[in-house]
Assembly symmetry: C2
Homo-oligomer: 753 residues x 2
């Protein structure tokens, strides 16, 4: 087997990443969680016998709940992957050859399994680290600066352990797949090979869809249910150990925010790489330029791992976090640092690996000439655009800035109603600048390198993925750590520390969502372009065809339909949760008094976990089916011109909706926190919890939950999944009446083309 | 002057319509409103001296408030029209010829003035009739069946008076313009003439934008403000005479719901006709076919007036309304009847006026052959599609059906938060079927007659406009009549009758909004097509051009930006209203006791009117400027390929958002009514006003107000206005670097085209 430059870089980056991840894990594992107090710490009030026992109990309960859900979800995924693999194999084989069908199916299964592994590792690491973060905060409760350093580092390492592991495994598996496939294909057939490789992205995306929707419904059903019943009806605080729905809420953070998001971002990585590879390999020039040039997009991701690793030392070693105020800047610095380093890396790699000039296929122009300089600009545009989108998202969702404060103030003027009006308006407004940035990135990269450029911009935006995942993983770990502190009945100081860490996590989570949406838009466009290139249509996509325009409208409607389904699912499951908890309290007065025996409490918690698990698994099927069936039905019956409309519409409408939903939800959450933490100078806002103003803010927060954590993020996958499905099934669609579908209604098209 | 078949039909229909309208007016005017009781009725308890004086006073206050606002608004419109006329004249003249510039400007001014007249007449008739409807209900309070007949007929005639007057005047003015222009153009230059005529649509649309946004902010600032302060803080019922904001609320119904909507629908009529005329006249075949064939689209509207008039006798004479239950069916029957009659009319007119076969220009195909049969199908598709969209809208917004009841039930499960989640989800879901219907209409008409077909479908959907306006006008008149009854301190029976009439009006208003959105989508697409035909681009619009795709994203963002602006404006103005009312009550305890002298009450009311007026006029500028500047900037600096993206994006995203906003708002309103009227079997929902469930429903209703009456309906105009602006400025855009704009960045385009 030949090892070329690109191979060396990719393999070494993957191995280094995995080793780094293991190192992080070994540091976390030094802190132990056991039912008995550690001899050395038993003297500490913060970790006396009772608290330690509580901590262990909660830790085990969350861990078991998360395992149960993920096992159940993955059983469904297993059935789906088996069924879909057969379908894929039959359809692709019938349209092309048995070999192509087989290779595509292998890629699909590999992608799906890798994505499941990614979700599983993410969940395991998060569950493993959350109680340890609580313990770190408790052990150092006497010294605030040491406490922040210890707890922050623990949560940050947990994020890092997860982020680097996922990125490295994703990269390594893809590379192994490429390397194996390359033995079965001639260099001149690398275009066919890459078509098969795109199955890898499809597999990742399908699992991500289940993870995001299922996990999203799980976490928000529990969260909304716990909030409604706890705060509004029974008047017990958030994460109170008496509320049986809180364990489900904590489990939800791990399976929704961590496992779901891990699969989602793994999907983006896999798909953007596949899109770029398909387009690159479709050009003779690129195939001739050699393996390393072809694998250039993958090397960017490899370089990203090294860059992110180097940057992470700044947070843990060079400039450790010592106080509340340092948390958010430390996390933001990570993103800025990795983005700057990526410029150098991309320029270097482009000039090192790519020929001085090469011709590629595209959609805006059927063929065009690119240079390493152009290519590097595309990567940097994506990378910096992502950073800017992230910072704008922060502006609109952090309570340090005017927009969220205005929303908080509106709770005072007209209560819940004006809070909702202002929050919705904020979400709409927050889409303006990100969309402009996306438009500029697309214009730049599309003009310079056509679809290939858009794919590279997506890869550029995701080059800092390991850091992004670190930060994204950090948030739920801190959130959980806080919940665990509350439920273990630890002292105020512990909770204060985890709350501050969590607040910073909320803001950076919003930044992460901005990245996820932005990259999803770019990935979808790149895949869409690859789909058109693949079909060999060089007249572009005319939207003013009857069929295309009709499906453009239908495509734009899909994100609304999808969101409505997921929102209602959360509403219904939360309703069931409220009924269950109310019933438990009504039937056993010891629960409210906090004197119920352990087994009664545990049985109550298990019932809540069961409601979330069953509801989410039941409700995730319909929205996922909608997204997968839409392009398949359009392509099979109405042909590729209908699919063009569907993809355009879904992408255009999905981006706006996803951004506004995520930011609206984030803003409401932080407006509530702004009031709770009494950060305002306004006398009425300063009164904190329990006031009418606070109640109005809670309504917004509750409405925002399904928007920001269920519907919004899942829209990313909607866009990407529809596009990659179309790409993988391109040959099949084309085999039906030359892409005109079984119904063959593309009248006008048939006359012109 | 030759009078051809089409001329005869158009002129006679217009005159018949105006006479019919005058006849309706004369019947309404028989009921008089004066400060002294009529001798014949002074014996009635319902209209004793005190009530009569109250009635008169409220009538005058509303009338003056509405006049003040409309005068102020029209002063701003006057300045705008003057300024924009100069700009238009200069830009069009510079791009084409002084003559073209002059004719376009004349058309623009005529359209603007006609639209202002339409709004003015609508407002005048509504204000004239509302107190008379209250009086009709009061005069017959002793006999329920006679009461319903009298009050319904009064409100229905008011709607008819307005609807027929507007349609006839709009038609007649357009015809006169066409006839005059035809003297200055050769038959072969009719394409240029129609280009100039499109200024008529632009004028109508610009005024409609101001009317919808200004009126929408006015009415909802007052409504939301009155609701918030009345229901939530001071605990006084809706429309209570003590609440100084209620008069402003009533004025708002007239200037927003009536004047705004009249201008909006007049704009749709003018624009759809212009789009069809531009496309028809661009083909040599059609110009050769003669004046009547060319004017075929206008004759459909003319026939519509006659059809609507005939149908209206069914409601007033053949089958008069005698009870609560008969109101809604009577109004729906009108729509169904006119739609059926339109089929016959359109088939007849198509075969009578059009040649057996003719060739037109298009965008999906550069030229195609059409037949009268095809043309009739397009008209019918629009007409029936509109009816279906209306009925689906009714299903989602009426509390007779499951969706609204589910939203009402959700108030019980989790309070305001779940109400909002379910309401938003309902709005998203309610877009599915209308969008599918629109897609089918577009596919059918686009395939059969290309852009001309889409224009005809829009005209078909608007052929029942007189009936639509009748029903749309009916609603606010009943709403006002109820408010007046409450404020004049009339008996329960009077209010019960007007409430029942109003509830039916709410549902049919939702139907009307469905029509308005559907037709706006078709009109925009037709105008967009006409724009492309006009530019002579026969390669279609490739969305996968960098510039076009970037602007596609930006265009899709505009409706969100626009909505955010208008929603925040309502929120702020409502906040100011709340502050003012609270202050008034705090400063003068006699206001709450109801013992304040008349002049104090009147001064308080005037202050509220002033707040609404000033806020709406101030806040309407920015959103209107956004919509007008976007296509102008895009076209001037980035060229027509950017405008293509902008129009596609705005249309696609606007339709979804407009439908979901309108229906969400309507559903919340009716969910609240469902609880208030105790229509549910559920014990908790049955308790009516004052419960926590009802409070949760009020939050939804308040959030829905700006969505359904400010942002949602204004989005229709956003779509249409951007498209007609582009059409009118087509030559100007093309004159800059052959349509590539001042910045000339359309790199890829320039290489291919």
């Amino acid at each position: 087997m030949d090892f070329e430059n690109a191979d060396v870089l990719i393999v070494s980056a993957s191995i280094v990443g995995i080793l780094f991840s293991y190192w992080q894990y070994s540091i976390i594992a030094k802190t132990t969680i056991s039912p008995e107090p550690d001899t050395e710490t038993s003297s500490l009030v913060a970790l006396n016998r009772k608290v330690t026992a509580n901590l262990y109990e909660v830790y085990i309960a969350i861990s078991e709940g998360a395992n149960t859900f993920l096992n159940a979800e993955y059983r469904i995924c297993g059935v789906f992957v088996t069924g879909f693999s057969i379908l894929l194999f039959v359809l692709i084989s019938s349209a092309t050859s048995i070999e192509d069908g087989m290779f595509t199916t292998i890629s699909f299964i590999t992608g799906a399994l890798t994505s499941m592994l990614a979700g599983y590792i993410g969940m395991k690491v998060a569950v493993f680290s959350n109680a340890r973060t609580t313990k770190a905060a408790a052990l150092n409760a006497s010294n605030e600066s040491a406490q922040y350093t210890a707890a922050f580092n623990m949560a940050f390492r947990a994020g890092g352990c997860m982020g680097f592991c996922l990125c490295s495994i994703g990269l390594l598996v893809l590379w192994i797949l490429l390397k194996i496939f390359s033995h079965y294909f001639e260099t001149d057939d690398y275009d066919l090979m890459m078509d098969c490789i795109s199955g890898y992205g499809l597999g990742g995306s399908c699992i991500a869809m289940f993870g995001r929707v299922g996990g999203g419904i799980y976490t928000k059903a529990a969260d909304v249910g716990a909030d409604l019943v706890g705060k509004c009806d029974l008047g017990i605080p958030e994460d109170d150990p008496r509320n049986p729905a809180t364990i489900a809420d904590n489990v939800g953070d791990n399976v929704g925010d961590v496992a779901g998001m891990s699969s989602d971002l793994f999907g983006s990585f896999a798909e953007s790489t596949c899109a770029a590879l398909v387009i690159a390999a479709s050009a003779q020039d690129m195939r001739d330029a050699g393996w390393s040039a072809l694998l250039f997009p993958v090397t960017i991701s490899a370089a990203g791992i090294i860059i992110c690793m180097l940057s992470s030392f700044v947070a843990t070693h060079i400039h450790p976090v010592k106080s509340k105020a340092e948390v958010e800047p430390a996390l933001k610095l990570q993103l800025i640092l990795t983005s700057i380093l990526t410029i150098f890396a991309s320029v270097f790699l482009a000039f090192w690996l790519l020929p001085a000039e090469f011709t590629l296929n595209g959609v805006a122009q059927s063929s065009f000439t690119a240079t390493p300089g152009n290519v590097a600009i595309c990567v940097c545009a994506g990378c910096f655009g992502g950073l800017l989108i992230g910072l704008v998202t922060e502006y609109y969702t952090s309570h340090s800035y005017a927009p969220v404060r205005e929303v908080a103030m509106s709770c005072k003027a007209g209560g819940a109603a004006t809070n909702i009006i202002y929050g919705l308006a904020l979400g709409y407004l927050s889409a303006i600048i990100p969309v402009i940035i996306l438009a500029v990135i697309i214009f730049t990269s599309f003009t310079l390198c056509d679809t290939y450029g858009v794919g590279l911009a997506a890869i550029g935006m995701l080059s800092t993925l390991a850091t992004g995942l670190t930060i994204d993983g950090y948030g739920p770990v801190c959130d959980n750590a806080g919940g665990i502190a509350e439920m273990s009945e630890m002292e105020e100081e512990v909770r204060d520390c985890t709350d501050a860490l969590d607040a910073a996590g909320n803001t950076t989570a919003a930044i992460g969502k901005g990245f996820a949406i932005g990259s999803a838009a770019l990935v979808s466009l790149a895949l869409y372009g690859a789909f058109v290139v693949r079909l060999g249509i060089d007249t572009g996509v005319n939207v003013l065809e009857p069929l295309t325009f009709s499906f453009l409208l239908l495509g734009a409607m899909l994100p609304y339909w999808f969101s409505a389904m997921t929102m209602k699912s959360v509403g219904e499951a939360a309703g069931a949760m409220v009924t269950e908890v109310k019933e438990q309290f009504a039937n056993d007065s010891r629960l409210m008094a906090g004197t119920a025996p352990k087994d009664v409490v545990a049985a109550g918690r298990d019932k809540c976990i069961k409601i979330s698990t069953e509801a989410s698994l039941r409700e995730m099927v319909a929205p996922s089916a909608l997204v997968m069936l839409a392009p398949l039905i359009a392509g099979t019956f109405f042909g590729v011109y209908a699919v063009f409309g569907l993809l355009t519409g879904g992408l255009v409408s999905g981006v706006q909706l996803a951004i506004s939903m995520s930011n609206t939800g984030g803003a409401w959450d932080n407006a509530k926190k702004y009031i709770e933490q009494k950060l305002s100078d306004d006398p009425e806002l300063k009164k904190g919890k329990g006031t009418d103003v606070h109640k109005a803010a809670v309504v917004g927060d509750t409405v925002g939950d399904p928007l920001k954590d269920t519907s919004g993020p899942a829209l990313n996958i909607l866009m990407k999944l529809m596009a990659i499905l179309s790409l993988v099934f391109a040959d099949f669609f084309w085999s039906i009446n030359d892409g005109r579908g079984l119904l063959n209604v593309a009248v006008a098209v048939s006359r012109r083309v």
